[in-house]
């Protein structure tokens, strides 16, 4: 196991067309880690983005050093979270894995403190508790979010207040075990991981996060997303 005091955090960043956001995310992460004195590495898993994300990743690798930034590329027809994480994990040398979207990186440091405080296996960000919240959401979007979350709580009783998990910290062995067990795709995969984690008896801590909408690019929440969410939810309901 890791030597005393030598925790290392590996951040997995699956990207697709994140040329604008990527440097900002990396800069914020690097600064937060340096300020808190933690050893880290950022693994960028790009899914063959046509906008030059890979090139930006390589530049960042030169700037920060290849012990801090690892840039890999996969080509898949659809960026399934599972594939990206499996690929990323192979390169990860830390004993803690952070999984996050490349469009948000807020208050990263709170996660480490939370983990130490409770020695949790998983720390998950929540928008719904404490002073967590959102920015720039209209009423309709908030309503859909709360409604969907309520339905999830009733059906799955997951033991965590926010399941769509744009930001999570896992112990490496815990993530490994969960990824072996989970079969869903996309963000339903994130939901499934929390549900399975609770079933397996892992401890889950929660930290309020501020979800500031995509810096560049658009967030989509149309009828299609709602339908696919419901399908995913019902699948989890019937299989976990």
């Amino acid at each position: 196991m890791a030597a005393r005091g030598a925790d290392k955090f590996s951040v997995l960043l699956p990207t697709y067309n994140e040329r604008e956001n990527l440097p900002l995310v990396v800069w914020l992460l690097a600064r937060t880690f340096e300020e808190s004195g933690n050893n880290f590495e950022i693994i960028i898993i790009d899914d063959g983005s046509p906008d030059g994300t890979q090139e930006i990743a390589e530049q960042l690798e030169k700037i920060y050093g290849s012990d801090k930034i690892v840039s890999c590329e996969i080509i898949s027809v659809l960026l399934s979270s599972g594939t990206a994480y499996i690929h990323g994990m192979k390169h990860a040398t830390g004993n803690f894995i952070v999984i996050m979207d490349a469009d948000l990186s807020h208050h990263v440091s709170r996660y480490f403190i939370k983990q130490k405080e409770g020695n949790f296996d998983i720390v998950s960000g929540t928008r719904y508790k404490g002073n967590g919240g959102v920015y720039g959401w209209d009423l309709k979007r908030k309503l859909i979010s709360r409604g969907a979350n309520f339905l999830t709580q009733v059906l799955l009783r997951p033991g965590a207040s926010d399941l769509t998990g744009s930001f999570r910290l896992y112990r490496k062995e815990v993530l490994q075990k969960l990824m072996d067990k989970c079969v869903s795709k996309g963000y339903v995969f994130q939901m499934e991981m929390i549900v399975r984690a609770r079933q397996l008896g892992f401890t889950i801590g929660e930290v309020p996060i501020s979800f500031v909408d995509r810096v560049y690019g658009e967030s989509k929440l149309g009828g299609n997303e709602i339908v696919s969410f419901l399908k995913g939810l019902l699948t989890l309901f019937a299989t976990t």
Binding site: L24, G118, R146, Q199, I204, L236
Partner: protein
């Protein structure tokens, strides 16, 4: 202490909550399975008491009261759902400072990265 399948809540500290699950016999049954079992149990109890099959007779007033019970419970749950979602919607935080802070960070990031040689 907590019985089998119970969720143990840790102390609430600085706005954080902790969940852990130690004993989970229900882990083997899917949520759908649990719901079906629960509904079957409640359903048969209700049918036994309210529908009055021969051999198990309750006084008429009791049966009258029990008969619409499922509908009442459904309506009550509906009201609870509306109230809960409404409350949560109303208390959904808006993070103004976080957004402003993020904008500052973005400018700082761009300046610093440019200085370090990143070509955007």
């Amino acid at each position: 202490q907590s019985g089998p399948g119970a969720v143990r809540f840790g102390s609430v500290r600085s706005g954080s909550l902790r969940f852990s699950r130690r004993f989970t016999p229900q882990a083997d049954m899917t949520k759908l399975g649990q719901w079906l079992c629960g509904l079957a149990l409640l359903g048969s109890a209700w049918a036994a008491l309210a529908l009055a099959p021969p051999g198990l007779q309750l006084p008429a007033p009791f049966r009258q009261a029990l008969l619409p019970l499922p509908i009442y419970l459904l309506v009550a749950f509906g009201c609870y759902s509306l109230a809960t979602v409404g409350y949560r919607l109303a208390t959904f935080n808006d993070c103004q400072e976080a957004a402003a802070e993020l904008q500052e960070h973005i400018s700082a990031a761009r300046t610093d990265l440019r200085r370090r040689g990143l070509r955007f």
